[in-house]
């Protein structure tokens, strides 16, 4: 649906916003009144796209998941906009719904990255073993009947999420006087956040979190200074995880990746200049049984130095409980 034509139309002619409908619907202000009056956001579990004017009048609904209709509906919305009187369309105005200090900068009622936190892009993709142990991207025929057949294209693509690493945590990864071979302790909050929220086969498939109950025993991580050149220190992160979730439906989802990553910092400025990781290993019991058997799941982590606004969206793991995401507690420690 998001064809080159659609992307071009939207980039050139519209202000585009991506929102959580529940937060917008619950607002007790003029924008909330407009949202409920126009129903410009979804009221069901499905996503929705609609076009409104800056003064809060709905121009068109654009059924984004209906092939062939989406682009036409966007063009129709644009035509309706262009047919409005010039005084309603001209630039340099204010919206009567928002003004000055009342303008919310972030998502309504939802978390933003803590000051100083790293924003890390997360991408993940499945691979199928081809003949002689080689790998390929998945095909429609690899997927189970039903939802797997409907969503195979989505399953094939890279899914996205974001990881936030609080400032105190990433600073703890950089030794003050690094020496090659030096072992650096990894904060338990980092390991728990990784195991619980970011080695998750559910990303790209829906909102579920597979391994929310994982503890430190789910894996091991080590961080070693690989090289020191002047003020530049390079560290190598290695490890593995063995994650498992028994599903009420009677099957078990497992993911057992090896983990490798590199962290580079400038010890003089205290800046972190590289933070990337890769988790790669076997997944079985794909959430909602979309794929049969076992296959390989790879997850890439990559530092975003200057995130765009669209990249400041909260990680899925932070959506419902920011504190449990940023400061995950070990159940093992609590039980001692």
């Amino acid at each position: 649906m998001w064809t080159g034509e659609v992307v071009k139309l939207l980039r050139e002619n519209f202000i585009c916003v991506s929102v959580d409908s529940r937060s917008e619907w619950a607002r007790k202000d003029a924008v909330g009144d407009m949202v409920r009056r126009t129903k410009c956001v979804t009221v069901t579990a499905n996503g929705k796209t609609a076009v409104i004017t800056p003064q809060g009048e709905k121009l068109e609904e654009c059924p984004w998941n209906t092939p062939g209709v989406f682009a036409a509906s966007i063009r129709k919305a644009l035509q309706k906009w262009q047919n409005l009187p010039e005084e309603q369309r001209r630039a340099g105005q204010e919206s009567k719904l928002v003004s000055g200090s009342t303008v919310r900068k972030g998502p309504a009622g939802r978390p933003s990255p803590p000051p100083g936190a790293l924003v890390v892009a997360v991408y993940q993709r499945r691979f199928i073993r081809a003949a002689e142990g080689q790998l390929r991207y998945l095909e429609q025929s690899d997927c189970n009947p039903g939802e797997g057949q409907h969503r195979w294209r989505q399953l094939r693509e890279a899914a996205r999420d974001f990881m936030w690493v609080p400032e105190n945590e990433w600073k703890a990864l950089i030794p003050k006087t690094p020496q090659p071979g030096q072992k650096v302790p990894i904060p338990t909050t980092f390991a728990l956040r990784l195991f619980r929220f970011h080695l998750d086969p559910h990303r790209g498939l829906g909102e579920g979190i597979e391994f929310a109950h994982a503890d430190l025993s789910a894996g091991q991580l080590s961080l070693v200074v690989e090289s020191v050149q002047g003020d530049r220190v390079l560290l190598r992160l290695e490890g593995e995880a063995h994650l498992e979730a028994k599903k009420p439906e009677g099957y078990t989802t497992t993911y057992a990746p090896r983990i490798l990553g590199y962290i580079q910092a400038d010890t003089k400025s205290g800046r972190l200049t590289r933070f990337d990781m890769l988790a790669f290993g076997e997944e079985s019991g794909t959430p909602r049984k979309l794929l049969p058997g076992t296959h390989l799941l790879g997850i890439v982590f990559e530092l975003i130095e200057n995130p765009k606004e669209s990249e400041l969206v909260y990680p899925r793991g932070a959506r419902d409980d920011l504190r449990s995401y940023l400061e995950p507690a070990s159940k093992l420690a609590q039980s001692r």
């Binding site: 080159g4 992307v7 939207l10 980039r11 519209f14 202000i15 585009c16 916003v17 991506s18 929102v19 959580d20 409908s21 917008e24 924008v31 956001v41 069901t44 499905n46 996503g47 929705k48 796209t49 609609a50 076009v51 409104i52 800056p54 966007i74 919305a77 630039a91 105005q93 719904l97 928002v98 303008v103 919310r104 900068k105 972030g106 309504a108 993709r125 691979f127 003949a131 142990g133 080689q134 790998l135 390929r136 991207y137 890279a158 996205r160 909102e207 090896r258 490798l260 890769l278 790669f280 390989l296 790879g298 997850i299 890439v300 990559e302 765009k308 606004e309 669209s310 969206v313 899925r316």
Partner: protein, 85 residues
């Protein structure tokens, strides 16, 4: 030894080609970069990420009025859908 990634638009369309000459099932420093490249979005995938989404409806209304543009609202019940769908 560096592995060669066979990559082209035709490959994307046919989709059945093999990704690497040897199975990179044991992650190591040699296949780290290749695997990362294969996992990340490829040309033509997830094109909605090419759109400069705002996350604030207020900010979208303000900018729409200032720039004289209509507002395209993409909404999801579980979060901003450009990230969660």
């Amino acid at each position: 030894m560096k592995r060669t990634v066979v990559w082209s638009w035709g490959w994307m369309l046919l989709g059945a080609a093999v990704l690497s000459a040897r199975p990179p099932q044991s992650l190591n420093a040699d296949n780290y970069a290749t695997l990362r490249q294969q996992i990340k979005p490829q040309p033509g995938e997830s094109r909605y990420w090419e759109i400069p989404w705002l996350l604030s409806l207020d900010e979208a209304l303000r900018r729409g009025a200032a720039e004289g543009k209509p507002i395209f609202v993409f909404s999801g019940a579980g979060g901003p859908p450009h990230a969660f769908c």
